[in-house]
Amino acid sequence: MILPVMDFLPSESRRAVNAVRAKRRIALLGILLLVFSVGVSAHSWNSARNADSERAVGAMLVANAPGVDEILDGLAKEQSTLSRALRVTDGLMPAISASSVVATITNMLPEHVTLTGMRLETTDTPKQMIVVLNGMAATNKDLVEFEQKLAGTNAFRGVTVSENKVGEFMGKRVEDFTVSLQVPLCVQVCKPGTMRVAKAGVN
C-alpha cells in the first residue's frame, strides 16, 4: 500500500462504537434468552396441565371401578348364558336336566299322592326325554289333580295315565297309577341371552 491508512477515529469514539454494538448484542441475546425461557415455561406449564388432566381421568376411572366390575359380572353372566345356549344349540348338553324334571314333578305332587318309581329315558329321534312315573294316590281325585298339573305345564307333552288300579297300602285303599309323559329337548334360541328353555314349573 502506497499510503498507510491514516485513521482519524479517536480511540474513545471507537470504544463508544464498540460499546454500543456490545450493548445491542447483549440486549439481543437477552431478548433471545427471554423468548427461549418463556417458550420453555409455556411448554412446561402445558405439560403440567396435561399431566393434571391425565391424573384426574385416572382418578375418575378408579372411582368408577365398582360399576365397571358390575358390568363385567353382568357380561360374564351373559357370556355364560350364551356359551350354554351355544352348547345347547350344538347338542352337546341337554336343554333340560333330569334333576330339573324330577324337582319340577316332585314340587307338583299333591298332598295325598306319592311316587314309588320313576324312569327317565332320552331319545334322539325325536329329541326328547320320556318320563314314566309310578305312584299311589289316596283317591282318584288326587290322581286327576296330579295329571292336570302335569298336563298344564308347558315343558311336558303327552301326559297320559297309562295304568290305574285299586291297591292297598298299609291296610288302606289306594289308587296305584302309572303316568307317562315326554319332555321335548329341542329348544329354540330366539336371541342371545333370551334362550327359550322349557323349565319345570314355569308357564
Binding site: M1, I2, L3, V5, M6, F8, L9, R14, V20, L28
Partner: protein, 336 residues
C-alpha cells in the same frame, strides 16, 4: 428491531460513508472471486456540513436510507472531504523511535497549523525522503468537532464507524486497487473536490509529496453551481464562467509549481491520474497536458464497480476506496 440487524452475523459487504463537500454518499459493495466490485447499495443525499451537528430532517433521511438498504448495525468506513483537513509535510531526524516520532509529529503539526492540541486529531504517515539522516512525514490534522459530528451522524443513522479517513487518501487506496502501474516510476495522482484538489506524488510505489490546493473547483467544472468558497487561501479563478479549457489553468499551473518543488525539474512525472467530479471533463485533462506536459487520465471511479444502476458521476472514488479496505477483513471472516 432495526438496531439489532446485522449484529450477530458476519458482515459480507464493505460499506463506506463519504461526507463530501457536494453530497453525503453511502455505498455498500461486495467483491466477487474474480475481483469485480458489485454495488449492493449506493445513494447520495444533500451535503452534510460537519462544522455543526447534522440537522434532524437530514438525519432522518439518512437513517431511513440506511434502514431501507438493510445496513443497520453494519460497520462502515467514513471519509471526510479533504478541505476539512489541514495537511503539510515535515522532515524530522530519522534516529527517533516510533513514539518519539509520533510525539514530534504531533508537536510539529500543532505548531504549524496553529491549533489547540486538545481540539484536533493528528495523524502522520511516512514519505519518501532523499536526505540522509532525515525522514519525511505527511502531517494531517482535523478538528475533533468534525470527527465527532461525523461519528454521531453515522451512529445515529444506524451504522458503526470503524475508521475515519481523508477522502483523497481513500481515493488513492481505491485507485491503487483498481489500476496497475502505481508501483513503478514517478506518478502524480490528483483527487479534485469542489473546494480542494489534492496532489499526491508517488515514486516507485512510495508516497513522495502531498499538496492541497484550495479553490472553487466546482465552479471550474462544467456545472451550474455557484462559488461559495470564501477561504482566503483559495486560488483566484478568472473568469469562472468560461467554457474554454483554460478555466483549469490556475489548477494546472499550481500543480506544475507543486511538482517542480517536489521533484527535480528534469524528472517530473510523466503521467497524472485524476479522480473526482471534474475528472471526466476532457478540458481538464487537456489543460494538464498542455500546462504540465504530462499525460492525464481520468480513473473513472464510476466504473470501478458494477451494479443495477450506473453511477452518474465520477465522485465515488473516496467511498469506494475506503470500502475496499475491508475486503481483506471480509475475506478472512468468510474463510473463518
Amino acid at each position: 428491531m432495526r438496531h439489532f440487524q446485522n449484529i450477530l452475523t458476519k458482515q459480507t459487504t464493505a460499506i463506506a460513508v463519504d461526507f463530501a463537500a457536494d453530497a453525503l454518499r453511502c455505498i455498500a459493495i461486495e467483491q466477487a472471486v474474480d475481483g469485480t466490485w458489485t454495488r449492493r447499495v449506493a445513494f447520495e443525499l444533500p451535503p452534510a456540513p460537519l462544522d455543526r451537528s447534522m440537522d434532524d430532517s437530514a438525519l432522518r433521511e439518512f437513517s431511513a436510507k440506511v434502514s431501507e438498504a438493510g445496513l443497520n448495525g453494519c460497520k462502515c468506513r467514513v471519509t471526510i472531504a479533504s478541505h476539512l483537513f489541514r495537511m503539510d509535510m515535515a522532515q524530522l531526524p530519522s534516529s527517533m523511535s516510533e513514539n518519539e516520532l509520533a510525539a514530534s509529529a504531533r508537536f510539529e503539526a500543532t505548531d504549524r497549523f496553529g491549533m489547540n492540541a486538545a481540539d484536533v486529531m493528528i495523524q502522520h504517515a511516512p514519505l519518501f525522503c532523499k536526505t540522509a539522516g532525515r525522514c519525511a512525514l505527511l502531517l494531517m490534522a482535523v478538528p475533533l468537532l468534525i470527527i465527532r459530528n461525523a461519528t454521531q451522524a453515522v451512529m445515529a443513522a444506524g451504522l458503526s464507524p470503524c475508521s475515519i479517513e481523508n477522502a483523497a487518501c481513500a481515493a488513492l487506496h481505491g485507485a491503487e486497487l483498481r489500476h496497475d502501474g502505481f508501483n513503478t516510476g514517478l506518478i502524480a495522482f490528483m483527487h479534485i473536490e469542489p473546494q480542494q484538489a489534492v496532489l499526491l506524488l508517488m515514486k516507485d510505489g512510495q508516497l513522495q509529496s502531498v499538496r492541497a490546493m484550495q479553490g472553487d473547483w466546482a465552479v471550474a467544472a462544467p456545472s451550474t453551481e455557484v462559488a461559495t468558497n470564501t477561504n482566503d487561501n483559495s486560488l483566484a479563478l478568472e473568469p469562472v464562467v468560461s467554457e474554454g479549457a483554460w478555466r483549469w489553468s490556475s489548477l494546472a499551473e499550481e500543480t506544475l509549481r507543486c511538482m517542480r518543488q517536489a521533484c527535480v525539474e528534469s524528472n517530473l512525472p510523466t503521467r497524472m491520474l485524476v479522480t473526482g467530479a471534474p475528472s471526466s471533463d476532457h478540458e481538464l485533462l487537456e489543460t494538464f497536458k498542455g500546462v504540465c506536459g504530462l499525460e492525464s487520465v481520468s480513473l473513472n471511479s464510476a466504473g470501478w464497480s458494477t451494479g443495477a444502476e450506473k453511477l452518474t458521476s465520477d465522485t465515488w472514488a473516496a467511498a469506494l476506496g475506503a470500502a475496499s479496505l475491508d475486503f481483506k477483513n471480509i475475506s478472512s471472516a468468510r474463510a473463518a
